[in-house]
């Protein structure tokens, strides 16, 4: 197989399958959660559950001061990774073109050099996250194969993307094919690992926030 045929396959049927599994998997996960239902709270409430739920979806993005003080580097690193990953994903020119082809939506891109820098920062934060996971006693104790798998499939698209951009290893066509395949791997794996949190975080924040809002307690 040549690099060109690999790229054609990666962009064609492989991509369709990956997106299909991703959407099916995520919807299934959502149904698995919602179908379990929740009993209504019969206690006399003090406030609005809906307001509390919506508020908590936003406010949980900000850490509590006392916990931040205990783990400033780990928490900051988490922000760096998420912001870096999203900027690279959404503001690299070819990514925007790709999304435009699929959806018709488009927006201004960031310069390639800045994206490359962000990609390196994102990878550095992932490496640091791995070091924490291997060395911190709590993280080591609670981590499973799942955590390392999720880590690897998250790193690969950033790494292959950076290598394709910098033309450092392999001809561009082959690297680009690997880049797209690594994204497809991420899409396929995501619904069956902790990466579901990319959507379910809103649900879990909502549930705690809803109860807190209804009961008039902090969340």
């Amino acid at each position: 197989m040549t690099a060109e045929t690999l790229l054609t396959w990666a962009r064609g049927s492989a991509f369709d399958w990956a997106i299909g599994i991703f959407v099916f998997g995520m919807v299934l996960r959502l149904i698995e959660v919602l179908s379990l239902g929740k009993k209504p709270d019969l206690a006399e409430g003090r406030g609005s559950g809906v307001k509390g739920g919506l508020k908590t979806i936003v406010t949980r993005s900000i850490p509590r001061a006392s916990v931040f003080a205990r783990e400033p580097v780990r928490i900051t690193n988490g922000y760096v990774f998420h912001v870096g990953f999203l900027l690279v994903l959404l503001f690299y020119g070819p990514h925007i073109e790709f999304i435009e082809n699929l959806t018709g939506l488009s927006w201004p891109a960031l310069p390639g050099g800045i994206i490359a820098g962000l990609g390196m920062i994102t990878m550095a934060s992932l490496v640091l996250a791995l070091i924490f996971r291997l060395r911190n006693p709590v993280l080591r104790h609670i981590s499973t194969v799942n955590d390392y798998l999720a880590w690897a499939v998250t790193l690969l698209p950033v790494l292959t993307g950076y290598l394709a951009y910098s033309h450092a290893v392999l001809p561009y066509t082959a690297m680009l094919a690997l880049h797209i395949l690594s994204i497809e791997l991420l899409l396929v794996v995501a619904p069956f690992t902790k990466l579901t949190h990319m959507f379910s975080f809103a649900l879990s924040r909502w549930y705690q926030g809803y109860q807190a809002g209804y009961r008039g307690i902090e969340s």
């Binding site: 959660v33 929740k38 850490p63 988490g78 104790h141 609670i142 924040r205 705690q208 307690i217």
Partner: protein, 426 residues
């Protein structure tokens, strides 16, 4: 091999898995931040006390039975099942190493109510018979005698007699149509009768009618702590029956944390219907009296003092500002601990830990979190609003040779009442 009791435990845990629980497990990224919020971890450094790890058997059950991937693994026989050994191993984490303080739930970045899940998993552990002796004993006494400490009506009547003699105020027992029905914790009846005395004096000054039910005077609910909803329901039902029989408007939960959670939030959900009366914590009632100008005080405490927020009031109950308003009336030198209010650190004795003798050593170790909070501000008096916190704090302070008296807020307030003109009115 799993015995029948373990199967029962697993069934009980399964029943607790609802949409919120499934969303929590779906979202957990194993970031470990919950450990940093837990005094059992911060003071021991033992990663087994990481809050989310304490519910691992529940997570495994959820994965095996409520997710596609888990079901595939179960079908192929490669899923890790929940076993009797897991119950034996996790019992200590679920009961000794958690006071249900709820701090972890407030810091989880994906919003998981972890302490709520620990409350839930206890249903399975108690059903399987994997619960600490101390808590089993307290729960049995609560059901058979009516009080986890074994306090019976004659003991209450004796205390009532003492208080009446000392204050000259009649304590109304079983008075139908009173506005308020006051609940007490056994600890208050036996160790802190000053609470009852304070209530009598404050109610007289506020000019409100109140009563104590001879059928349901106990506020604490060991069923909630051990995680046995059927027993918790029975204890709540006794209060509901008494309150509805007497036709009171409001039931007052005493200076106790979990008693408030039990009757205020879990109560209606346990009996399956809303109450026909309101439930308020004593601090909410006192603050209402203050707002309505029904409390007249004179003079202020001069000692440098601070307030220990009981977890179930401040985090699960939303009673945060009321104690501060009340202390404003009677304290000149009130200072806050760092992390006061919603992020206050637990004393270590909540969630049944103080009733579990096996956990004493761990609890005293965890108390160092409170110690460092107190060391930082150097106070002469510690005020709180939970009899269980009070005992736990007293024991911890004694262990670390810290000479700080612990007092209840209600009695502190009562000491400053202006009541010359009311004496003799009863």
């Amino acid at each position: 091999m799993s015995g029948p009791s373990v199967e029962k435990g697993i069934n009980f845990i399964r029943e607790q898995i609802d949409a919120p629980v499934a969303s929590f497990f779906s979202s957990c990224v194993h970031c470990g931040m919950c450990a940093e919020a837990c005094l059992f971890y911060t003071q021991t450094g033992d990663p087994r006390y990481t809050p989310i790890y304490k519910v691992e058997p529940m997570r495994r059950l959820w994965e095996n039975e409520f997710t596609l991937w888990g079901r595939i693994k179960s079908t192929l026989g490669i899923a890790k099942k929940v076993t009797e050994e897991d119950f034996a191993q996790w019992e200590e984490l679920v009961y000794d190493g958690c006071s249900l303080c709820g701090r972890c739930s407030l810091v989880c970045p994906v919003g998981n109510d972890i302490s709520g899940m620990i409350r839930k998993i206890r249903e399975g552990f108690s059903a399987a018979g994997y619960a600490p002796e101390g808590l089993i004993g307290a729960t049995t006494r609560a059901i058979t005698i009516g009080s986890p400490m074994g306090v019976r009506l004659p003991a209450l009547k004796a205390q009532i007699g003492h208080v009446e003699k000392e204050t000259g105020i009649e304590i109304p027992l079983d008075r139908a149509g009173a506005e308020y029905m006051v609940l007490l914790s056994s600890m208050e009846i036996m160790n802190f009768p000053e609470y009852l005395q304070a209530i009598a004096r404050i109610m007289r000054q506020a000019g409100r009618t109140w009563t104590i039910s001879s059928k349901a005077f106990e506020a604490t609910n060991s069923g909630i702590q051990i995680g046995a909803s059927d027993l918790a329901r029975e204890l709540v039902q006794r209060v509901v029956d008494a309150a509805e029989e007497l036709g009171v408007q409001t039931v007052i939960s005493p200076e106790c944390g979990h008693a408030y959670t039990a009757i205020r939030w879990e109560g209606p959900n346990l009996i399956g219907r809303p109450f026909k009366f309101k439930v308020r914590h004593i601090l909410e009632v006192l603050d209402e009296f203050r707002e309505q100008g029904l409390i007249k005080t004179r003079g202020k405490e001069q000692a440098r003092l601070t307030f220990h927020d009981p977890c179930q009031l401040v985090r699960k109950g939303g009673v945060v500002e009321q104690p501060r308003h009340l202390l404003d009336l009677v304290a000149e030198n009130f200072v806050e601990m760092t992390d006061h209010g919603a992020m206050n650190w637990c004393c270590g004795g909540g969630g049944g830990v103080s009733a579990n003798e096996r956990a004493d050593e761990l609890r005293l170790k965890a108390f160092r979190q409170k110690k460092s909070q107190l060391d930082e501000i150097g106070v002469e008096t510690l005020v709180t609003a939970c009899a269980n916190c009070r005992i736990t704090l007293e024991e911890g302070l004694e262990e670390y040779e810290m000479d700080i008296p612990v007092v209840g807020l209600t009695e502190t307030l009562a000491e400053h009442l202006v009541e010359e003109d009311q004496e003799g009115q009863g």
